[in-house]
């Protein structure tokens, strides 16, 4: 209720701003927001819609872009994957937006992609994903597997000393691809096949007793065992609860999760989770001036002192800043020109470093490992010394080993095979 009131007021304010300016000026720059505001993904995606609206409001306060005001066009694809394609078409063909910020799940991105390529749109995708994709029309500001999964495994291997691995995930595209990459990586590192246990569960699984007991048995073989969890959404809470009930603490068998962040933990009793790990490129608890400022303006914008920030929000923030910078650089919002100008753009990230857009449309990001605390925040226990360049095509999968993505001349290809020197032309 509060949210709806808020959206109406903010859009009234924004539109009044826009009309005020519109009298003197011809047009505005339209920014499409393609996040689900209803359905199962609404919980996560609504936050990102608000983040984009906040960034637009702030940019307008600074005088907009190229002397024009920014105008948000918010649509609701309702967690309905085919609807993402329709809404993308609506944004590009009817509303003629200059850029789109949107999508969360991989399947929604895959649904919007053909439309983006057909109508030559530009989209910023802000969520960690499984890689194996690089489109000319999409900038991936979330983490690729080598910016989240691989460093997390390295940390467990080198700092915790894990030699036995449980790869537990929900049964869909992202966990299956990520686990395939991780399994190949572990085997390449000399881990034996019998020391890897892979387990998939359905969405929303709640009866974890058998699986947790298996993990416990698997973990009591005299070798340090770690769990890499790509378990998605609310199935996590009963999973961690069961771990606690069966007496498995983070000191015995640490669980590192790729889908559990501040937003997922907010409002929950995190006592059974304390000490378990998560790998992200940003945590709210990171101390930096940019981050303090961002948290403050976010909580003020949303009107709630307890609202948390999370990694996909940072990715949205970076994407927006970069797009604004690229537009100012070329002085136009033309998709092709902005796309070329984006490559090499550097903006400060929220963890005190710099984010750079690479030629493969992926970012350079620091990788942080955090331990869950009693208050639902993360304490950083490890970070990469430098930023890691996102790799669109994993080096550990036989099918994508030879592929690279480079959107600068002379390659200009999303999946260039370095062995055969050919571009397959199919980007997803």
């Amino acid at each position: 209720m509060k949210l709806r009131k808020f959206i109406t007021t903010s859009s009234i304010i924004l539109s009044s701003l826009f009309y005020g300016v519109a009298q003197g000026e011809e047009d505005t720059i339209k920014v499409g927001v393609l996040h689900s505001l209803s359905g199962t993904m609404a919980i996560s995606e609504t936050t990102l819609k608000d983040t984009v609206l906040m960034m637009i409001a702030e940019q307008n306060k600074k005088g907009g872009l190229l002397g024009k005001k920014l105008e948000p066009v918010v649509v609701d694809p309702a967690s309905n994957w085919p609807l993402f394609a329709e809404k993308t078409r609506e944004l590009l063909a009817k509303d003629k937006v200059d850029v789109i910020f949107g999508c969360w799940t991989s399947v929604s991105r895959k649904s919007a992609l053909p439309v983006l390529e057909e109508l030559n749109g530009l989209m910023f995708y802000p969520v960690q994903y499984e890689g194996e994709e690089s489109s000319k029309n999409v900038f991936y500001t979330g983490a690729a597997p080598n910016q989240q999964a691989i460093p997390a495994v390295d940390y467990l291997m080198n700092d915790i000393g894990a030699t036995r691995w449980v790869l537990a995930g929900t049964d869909y595209v992202y966990p299956r691809t990520t686990n395939k990459i991780l399994e190949a990586y572990l085997l390449a590192k000399g881990v034996k096949k019998e020391d890897i246990m892979i387990n998939y569960t359905p969405f929303g699984h709640s009866d974890w007793q058998g699986i947790v007991s298996d993990i416990k048995k698997f973990g009591s073989a005299g070798k340090k065992t770690a769990v890499v969890s790509t378990i998605n959404g609310d199935a996590n809470i009963p999973f961690y609860k069961e771990l606690g009930n069966q007496g498995i603490s983070a000191e015995d068998i640490p669980v590192v999760a790729f889908s559990v962040g501040e937003e997922e933990l907010s409002g929950f009793d995190t006592t059974p989770l304390v000490g378990h790990l998560a790998a992200w490129n940003y945590f709210q608890s990171v101390e930096s001036d940019e981050n303090d400022e961002f948290i403050e303006s976010w909580q003020e914008y949303i009107g709630d002192e307890d609202r948390v920030t999370n990694d996909p929000m940072e990715a949205t923030y970076i994407g927006f800043q970069m797009w604004a910078k690229a537009v100012e650089k070329v002085g136009t919002t033309d998709v092709d020109e902005v796309e070329q100008a984006m490559i090499g753009v550097a903006v400060p990230n929220l963890t005190g470093g710099t984010a750079v857009m690479n030629a493969n449309h992926h970012l350079s990001k620091p990788v942080l490992i955090g331990e869950i605390q009693e208050d639902g925040q993360f304490e950083v226990v490890w970070e990469t010394p430098d930023t890691v360049i996102g790799d669109a095509w994993s080096d550990y999968l036989p099918s994508s080993k030879n592929l690279i993505s480079d959107w600068t001349a002379p390659v200009n290809c999303g999946n260039f095979d370095v062995k055969t020197a050919k571009c397959s032309g199919q980007n997803f």
């Binding site: 919980i43 929303g204 058998g210 009591s220 009963p238 007496g247 929950f268 000490g275």
Partner: protein, 543 residues
């Protein structure tokens, strides 16, 4: 009487004062080490806490414990070490970590935590255990040895060997001997290893098994001397006996898991066994009755935050009433007008389920709500080192059997049960015998819905409480009722338990996704063969 108390009080006070005085002189060794805590990086923290643990001071344990509990903070301004406990209004109550005197109440931004991570916490645990070995309380010593047994080091065994002869308690002494034997097995000569193995045989401690497995894998390669060969044989024998025991307990554990899944299914389905089984109403809103029960638990916990421990006991009758009343409303308002039209009933109740879900979304927000597990529901009953039963599942099995038995008694022994059965078997005849069939319908539907509400209370302890909670269980509930035989409570019990057991025995082999599919396909085939389920109703009642 009062005078004696005040005297006692004075005595305690003076002895404390005395203790404080002696502290201040011996804390000198501790203070410079503690001063390093705020500025030390995580990597250098390990050696530092070991140094701290070596200082023989009454405060040492307190500081280490604070660090382990994550309550050790320092004030950013002057680096004073404090214990910070959350107070009201997002403030923190600070007490000095050394003198335990209250300092002030401040905001979170003024203080910073002394960092720990998993590795530090586990070494803190063993350091504290080492200090606890000399504690006066037997239980504390026992826990300490158990802790050290899990992760023995040279230093800890050295401490134990000093203390073992002085140990007055036999149980603690035996555990100490096991720890020493384990250390010998790990590092000793071969003859020592064999004697150690004798001491340890029959021990199910995971540490013992791990050591044996490691030793065996070292002995695999190359030519073995005679001694080594005999050691290997002894190791193998011990390992075999441990493993046969482990697989036995694994089997028992699987049965427990199956029964506990079965009892959840039973609770979810038994209400439906009444509304669908006895009355013949296809109630698609049954899942939402469960959801309402779960939300009732949430509301009760919010309304009485001071008695979380007993909240479930209040929630059970409350959820029964809430869901039961809603059930009666639905029956009176909708279902009775659709009697004998199953298709319309199905659609109408499906509509009601959507309405209820949206209602909950609007009232409570679409996000999942957090229902707290009381203390007595969490943790597990450790029967031996490799076998434990979780309390929440244990209680749920017992509870579901209680619900089942009381429902059976109501239907078989009470006059209400007699009326219900009469109406469901022959409505016209029952009416002719002056039974108010309308009234019986409403009460029966209310009873079934109320029991679904109770199932919701139980499920709130196992899964997420959200608007979609009911959706997840409606299909399972129908499966159980149809499989068991419509209208037969015993059938529902047998069906729920056998589905639970099948699922849990398949799961380790096939994975949980495939296990679900196999169970479903099996059920479909079974229904093809026996359309009336496991226990079909016989005689005239069947028509």
């Amino acid at each position: 009487m009062g005078r004696i108390f005040s005297l006692l009080f004075l005595l305690i006070l003076s002895s404390q004062g005395h203790a404080l005085q002696t502290d201040s002189s011996s804390s000198t060794a501790l203070t410079p080490l503690l001063e390093q805590l705020p500025s030390t990086k995580l990597r250098a923290m390990g050696p530092l806490i070991e140094k701290i643990a070596q200082v023989k001071d009454v405060k040492t344990r307190h500081i280490l414990q604070l660090m382990l509990d994550g309550e050790l903070y320092y004030i950013k301004a002057n680096k004073q070490l404090v214990q910070a406990v959350k107070a009201e209004n997002r403030q923190y109550q600070l007490t000095d970590a050394l003198t335990t005197e209250p300092v002030s109440v401040v905001k979170k931004s003024k203080i910073s935590k002394v960092k720990t991570n998993n590795r530090l916490r586990s070494s803190l645990r063993s350091l504290i255990a080492k200090i606890d070995l000399t504690d006066d309380d037997k239980e504390v010593r026992l826990q300490a040895v158990k802790q050290l047994l899990d992760s023995p080091t040279k230093a800890s065994t050295a401490t134990i060997s000093e203390l073992i002869d002085k140990e007055p308690d036999q149980e603690v002494q035996e555990l100490m001997q096991a720890t020493m034997a384990l250390q010998q097995l790990r590092d000793g000569e071969i003859s020592e290893q064999i004697t150690a193995l004798n001491t340890l045989s029959g021990s199910l401690q995971p540490a013992v098994k791990n050591t044996i497995v490691n030793l065996l894998s070292n002995l695999q390669e190359g030519d073995l001397t005679e001694q080594q060969a005999s050691l290997k044989l002894a190791l193998q024998q011990t390992l075999d006996s441990i493993e046969s025991q482990a697989s036995f307990y694994g089997f028992i554990e699987n049965i427990f898991f199956g029964l506990s899944l079965g009892s959840v299914l039973l609770l979810a389905a038994i209400g439906l066994a009444i509304t669908f089984g006895v009355m013949g109403v296809i109630n698609m809103a049954h899942g939402e009755m469960i959801m309402l029960g779960a939300y009732t638990t949430y509301v009760i916990q919010i309304a009485f935050p001071s008695i979380i421990e007993y909240s479930l006991l209040i929630a059970v009758p409350a959820a029964f009433l809430v869901s039961g009343l809603v059930g009666i409303l639905i029956e009176r308002g909708v279902i009775r007008f659709l009697k004998g039209r199953p298709l319309e009933t199905l659609l109408a109740t499906f509509g009601i389920s959507l309405i209820l879900q949206q209602l909950v979304r609007t009232v409570f927000s679409p996000l999942n709500r957090q229902v707290i597990s009381p203390e007595w529901m969490s943790g597990s009953w450790q029967i031996n080192p490799i076998f434990s039963l979780t309390f929440n599942r244990l209680y749920i099995i017992l509870f579901s059997i209680m619900v089942f038995v009381s429902l059976l008694l109501i239907l078989k022994k009470s006059s209400l049960g007699l009326h219900v059965r009469a109406v469901s078997q022959n409505r016209d005849m029952a009416r002719a015998l002056s039974i108010k069939s309308d009234w019986v319908d409403a009460i029966t539907f209310g009873l079934g819905s109320g029991i679904a509400g109770i199932a919701g209370v139980v499920l709130s302890q196992l899964t997420n409480v959200g608007p979609n909670l009911g959706q997840a269980y409606i299909i399972d509930s129908f499966l159980v009722v149809v499989f068991g035989g419509v209208g037969n409570l015993w059938g529902t019990l047998v069906a729920a338990m056998s589905l639970g057991l099948t699922n849990k025995f398949l799961e380790p082999v096939t994975g949980s996704v495939l296990a679900n599919i196999i169970v479903l396909v099996g059920l479909v085939l079974f229904i093809q063969k026996r359309p009336k389920g496991l226990f079909p109703q016989k005689g005239r009642a069947a028509d």
